[in-house]
Each structure stands twice: as structure tokens, then as C-alpha cells.
Amino acid sequence: MQWFSAMMPGIRRNIDLAWTRNEIAARVASDIPSGWVVNIGVGIPTLVPEFIPNEREVLFQSENGILGMVELGPQESPDPELVDAGKRPIAVRPGGCFFESSLSFSMIRGGHIDLGVVGALQISRAGDIANWRTDEKMIGGIGGAADVCSGVRNLWVAMLHTTDIGEHKLLEKCSYPLTAAGVVDRVYSDLAVLERNGDDWHVISLAPGVTVAQARRVTGFPIEVEGR
């Protein structure tokens, strides 16, 4: 486990200088253009919709068969037959629609979804993503993640840059079972926004107070910064 040696308590101590989970979600939201259809995974991604301003029309698709999903209003009573992929009660906005599973995955696999925003356990330099595991810390299962990661036009990962104990999550190769290979376009972490082009990654922006040297130390592959 070579990446255990890369623990970096220094960054964890400076957590107040990095982006919070909400700030990561807000940053993702600010990059989503009007008119896009977006599939949202569990974890930090679930926070993204609330940061989309009302005037910007972004449609959220959920794999269990809804397009135009919105949060349940405070006055609305939950309907057990109307849930999102995380089984939470939700509502549908005017212009939304329901459909069955195979059509839902036709949308996802067929490239009709502009963007997927997912969490991840590990990301490799080649854009492989691992977001489930079968060991004793088993997190759920594969669900629709393989289809989403393989099928959407753009795949952005929203996650903390390292694990709770400081292990690298951005690695030369993933050690967990892959969800999909060579699919990640961007990573939005608490420290930086990174974009992939083949095996090359460059920094789009850094969280306030985070230095290039710090970001490099917690990233298992080279990252380029414009002008440095």
C-alpha cells in the first residue's frame, strides 16, 4: 500500500482554508450551463442541485426513472412511489416525466445525458474510476454507477482529495475494482479543480490558501499548472 506513505496531516490541519463540501458542490453547480441534463450520484453530488439558480434551467435525471427531479417542498407530503436513486422522497417539476428502467438507461448509456456528477473512492491518471468495493467496508454495490460513468457525455467527480486518514485517492492506478475505465473528465475536490486530457491533468483552480506544492503532494500523478 504505497500510498499510505503519502498521508499529509498538514493539509488536514488547514482544512478551514480549503473548500467545504458545500463549496465543492457550489463550484460544480457554477460550471453547469443552462439546458444541460445532469445525472447526480450519492455523496457530495447530492448537494449540487441546491446551488443551481432558479433561472438556470438544468434538468436532473435519476436512474430509477425520472427526468426533472426537484427537492420536495416544505409543504409537500412525501409519496412512497416517488423517490430518487438514493430512495429519498422527491418531487417532479413541470415538464418532467417518468419512465421505466430500460428507457432510463437508454438515456444514460446512449449519451443523452450531458453530465454525470459522481463521488469516487479512487481515480487513476488514465481517468479510471473506482467508486464501490466488495471488501469488509463494502459500500452499496455497483448500482447504476458503471452505466453513468461509461455513458454520460461529461463525467465530473466531486470528492474529498484524500481519504479521512490522508490516503491518496488520485493515483497512477486504482487498487479498488474499477467502475469504468478512462472516463473521468474533471475532479472537483476540497483542494482543487482538475481536468484530464488523456494522461495529462491540469489544474483549473486551487482552493484559497492551497499551494501548488500542497496539491501535488496529495496527488498520485503529475498535475500541470498554467505558467508554472
Binding site: 426513472g65 423517490v83 428502467s101 430500460s102 432510463s104 448509456r109 447504476g144 455513458g151 469504468a180
Partner: protein, 212 residues
């Protein structure tokens, strides 16, 4: 429950609780069974069946959330085999079985452990996994409304796997909150045509029936 036998494969609709045939599954628990293969998107609603030793294998995409410690233990204690299939492949393989197709050609899973032991076919220069069709002996599905020909309509996100499971199974039993006269389900608003459904039962406890 006269369709149920030991060692059959039962496809059970629903995504979490939405569109889940709760009363049929409850009746299945009461009946008692051995060596069932369950096909369902999740495993979390089969804890009673698993604990009673009725289940030998579960084919699903997302067995349970990370917090389901007791379910995890039940599955291990009962020696239940868990077979994970990506959700889109699961639904498409059920559809293929119900559509007389020989399987599904997908790129989902290529380069991952899901490609293990799979035949690969190259179509016009691109590789695809061949995922075989997934059939069932029996399907249990849930609907808001049903008529005596088996036409079903759902509300909200309750459609989910119910259509493809009804298609894939040799015999399909539907439970419905309301059983209505022929013609009361609009021909434009039939989510599962009756041709895919063999029997309909009225729910005793139509707890989630809403204005519709």
C-alpha cells in the same frame, strides 16, 4: 402463491420501496421456500426471506447501503451468493429475455471486473461485452391500477423494473392498489400491457394509494 416452487428464479420489481410488490413478497415469506434465486435491483427488502433460509442467490445491482450491517450478516450467515450486475445491464438483459433477443452488446463493464468470463464481440471496429438474457420463472410486480387482463399503470417512479421483469418472466403476478374494470386504464396510459401479466391480486392494504 400457487406459482411458487422451490428452486425457481423470481424477479421482483421495485426500486427501494417504490413499485415494490410488498404484499406478494410477504405472502412468499409466509409460504416458506428453499433455494430461490431472487432477481431484484436491491436486496434490502429480502431480509426475512434470507433469514428463513429460502434464498440461495440474489442477482442485483445494489444489494444494500453501507449501513446495512444486519442484512450483510444475514447474507453471510445464510450463505447466500450475491451476483452484482450493473443496473443498466440488469434491466436490459431482462428486456432482452422478454424480447426474444440473444443478449445485450454493451461497453459498460469493459476494462473492469464485470467483463470477467464474458464473450466479446467486435462490431464495426468497437468491442462490446455480450451479456446473456436474464430470464425468470416468475415475476412479482406492483401497480397502482390493474384490470382483469393484466394491464397495469403505475404512478411516479414506480414503473422502474416492473415492465422488464413482467416481460422476462414465464409467469407474472401483479399486485395492485386498485383493480378496475376493463377500459378504465386508458389505452394511452398503460405502462405494462396485459400481455405480459398472468394474474392480478388486489392489495389488502393499499396504504400508498393516492388521488390519481
Amino acid at each position: 402463491m400457487s406459482y411458487v416452487r422451490d428452486a425457481i428464479t423470481i424477479a421482483i420489481g421495485g426500486f427501494g420501496g417504490a413499485g415494490f410488490p410488498e404484499e406478494l413478497v410477504s405472502a412468499l415469506e409466509k409460504r416458506g421456500c428453499r433455494d430461490l434465486v431472487i432477481v431484484s435491483n436491491n436486496a434490502s427488502r429480502f431480509e426475512n426471506l434470507i433469514n428463513s433460509g429460502a434464498v440461495s442467490r440474489i442477482i442485483c445491482s445494489f444489494p444494500f447501503g453501507g449501513a446495512s450491517v444486519t442484512l450483510r450478516k444475514s447474507i453471510e450467515d445464510a450463505g447466500v451468493e450475491l451476483q452484482l450486475i450493473p443496473q443498466g445491464t440488469l434491466s436490459e438483459c431482462l428486456r432482452a429475455a422478454g424480447s426474444g433477443l440473444g443478449g445485450v452488446l454493451t461497453r459498460v463493464g469493459l476494462g473492469t471486473s464485470f467483463a470477467k468470463d464474458h464473450q466479446v464481440v467486435n462490431v464495426d471496429g468497437t468491442d462490446f461485452l455480450v451479456e446473456p438474457p436474464l430470464t425468470a420463472d416468475l415475476a412479482f410486480v406492483h401497480a397502482e391500477r390493474a384490470d382483469r387482463w393484466g394491464n397495469l399503470s403505475m404512478r411516479g417512479t414506480a414503473r422502474n423494473f416492473n415492465l422488464v421483469m413482467a416481460m422476462a418472466a414465464a409467469t407474472t403476478v401483479a399486485e395492485a392498489n386498485q383493480v378496475v374494470e376493463l377500459g378504465q386504464i386508458s389505452p394511452d396510459r398503460c405502462d405494462v400491457p396485459g400481455i405480459f401479466v398472468d394474474a392480478v391480486v388486489q392489495c389488502n392494504d393499499a396504504r400508498d394509494s393516492k388521488e390519481y
